[in-house]
Symmetry: C2
Subunit: 336 residues, 2 copies
């Protein structure tokens, strides 16, 4: 019997659950540790130092210019491992499905998970699928956890940041948030923003030989660049100065921000790396990043300062200074 | 400013999110790798052989006799690691909260997570919190992943099961499902079923010296004992015979099943271990189990047979035989 939509029975643990797992999960992810559907995947590590992360994805719409909730979950999890100085290895895939979800949509999302995982060199090692009634979910939620192995040489700590260090970003800011907003509001023109949903692990692994000069990394998702820079400086004895004329923005994202009065420093990216590093290694890192598609628009956007301790300061295009604050509440719910 | 209920802004990545994490998460789980809220937790392993699992929890009601969604998530994840022959070490805690969720309820759930994790000797190492609008979730969903370290000596494989092996269960069957059902239907009397939500890892670690004789383990959650035994036998060259008079049931659960016409072989437990082991070690394992509260009602319920290959057969109290099948669809949605 064939069904076009998810039924409650697909989550009941009986035959229909089994069919869903066999036909939709095992066909895509069943060649590795998932093959026998064990209670837990058996994994063999090369290192005893691992990194462990988790993220929930509730983005709406489920599909948007530049990606969907499936690749977003893979990239979000891979990126959390990468910015902690680890090589991403294994992911879990926890699905909560709403009764009535079209199977074609689920298949597109799972195809994206499969492609993104392959592209990142990670294996979906374990998973779980639950189904809830109509009106108890909004289509599909994903919670993904990831395990990575620590890359030798990285020692990422805020207390290694020093005045004179450089602040780098690997690409344009705010593209993901702008794409979600535009998709929700129905904006479409030749400059429609496109999500930057993509992995940053190659940007990290490729500069591992310079790890001694890398102090700290983050990916500016919810809350944007303003939030991650404030998280780095609050309570510290250094400040940060960033320069508006160095901040990279995509044309469509900048146009949308202007039209809607958005501060793009508060808007999420999903494929951007923010790095604080010693001045001596900054140019070499930028040079390498620019050889990769995901880093071709990389820029040095500012410096760590001895004054303005605990604060992030923005120098405007005409030289004015203002404090960059953290957004206080919800900018845009369900962005990721 | 104080809030009594979850607001959308608690999930926006700004100040209110930070407050929620600081006040509700860090106060309970902030002493270990979560302390600095890194993108990924840094963990140091003793073994290079790990187990990795994930489970989503969407149980309704969120609180029930014997537990709530918080300890259920911890026990479910711990148990998946335990039955794969691992010592549970670290958990992730992925929360999806519905706007309007009472903070007092969230606190009770998080208190339960904290207590259950401490009791199981596992550390909540990483987490994530999302908030969705009213009507896009049903109060609170939890997705938890777990990492365990493989216990030496265990080699758990279906192809090690042999005719003559014994089938053991560590306690009464179906108590969790019966408790959820009774709570939903509003049944209450002096025999109200109580969930068996509890960890089984001590039952595993305590018999590690007999691991050579242990073939396979599972915990009979969704789909109950019937499902896990069928998963073990389907397509194999052995069968299983279980005896009705040996199956342990709690009085309240048995009474509810009789009243509602439930087949308790299909009803979920959340703190029960099903083990297939060599006959030589069965008595020693039962003897040890019965020294622990979670194993005091342990029983040998049947044997692996050379005939009836691929099938699970139930011998009734009066000696009749019937095939035990897998439930075909939804018995009870959102049981875990």
């Amino acid at each position: 019997m064939n069904h076009d939509h998810i039924l409650l029975a697909h989550g009941g643990g009986g035959r229909l659950s089994h069919q869903l797992i066999t036909q939709e999960i095992l066909t895509r992810f069943g060649s590795g540790p998932l093959a026998s559907l064990p209670d837990a995947a058996a994994l063999e590590l090369d290192s005893s130092r691992i990194r462990f992360t988790t993220d929930g994805f509730v983005v709406q719409p489920l599909e948007f210019p530049g990606g969907n909730i499936g690749d977003l979950a893979v990239h979000g999890t891979v990126n959390d491992l990468a910015v902690s100085g680890a090589r991403p290895r294994w992911l879990s895939l926890g699905l909560i499905l709403e009764e009535g979800l079209p199977l074609t949509l689920l298949r597109r999302v799972l195809d994206s998970v499969q492609r993104a995982a392959a592209d990142c060199g990670v294996i979906v090692a374990t998973g779980d699928t639950k189904v809830v009634r109509r009106g108890q979910c909004d289509g599909l939620y994903i919670t993904s956890s990831g395990i990575g192995e620590a890359l030798p040489g990285f020692d990422l700590r805020l207390d290694r940041i020093l005045p004179g260090d450089r602040i780098l970003v690997s690409g344009p800011l705010g593209d993901h948030g702008a794409a979600i907003l535009a998709a929700r509001e129905g904006f479409e023109n030749f400059h429609t923003p496109v999500s930057d949903s993509r992995p940053v692990h190659r940007l990290v692994e490729g500069v591992a030989s310079l790890a001694w000069g890398i102090r700290f990394m983050r990916d500016p998702t919810r809350g944007g660049l303003a939030t991650v820079l404030n998280e780095m400086t609050t309570g510290q004895d250094f400040g940060m100065l960033i320069r508006a004329r160095e901040l990279p923005f995509s044309p469509g994202t900048a146009a949308l921000a202007e039209m809607m009065g958005l501060d793009l420093l508060h808007v999420a990216s999903e494929g951007c790396l923010v790095m604080v590093c010693a001045a001596e290694v900054a140019e070499a890192i930028l040079e390498f990043w620019r050889t990769l598609p995901e880093g071709e628009k990389a820029r040095a956007i500012g410096v760590v300062t001895a004054d303005q301790a605990g604060r992030v300061i923005l120098e405007s295009a005409i030289g004015g200074l203002r404090v960059v604050d953290v957004p206080s509440g919800e900018l845009l719910p369900r962005i990721c």
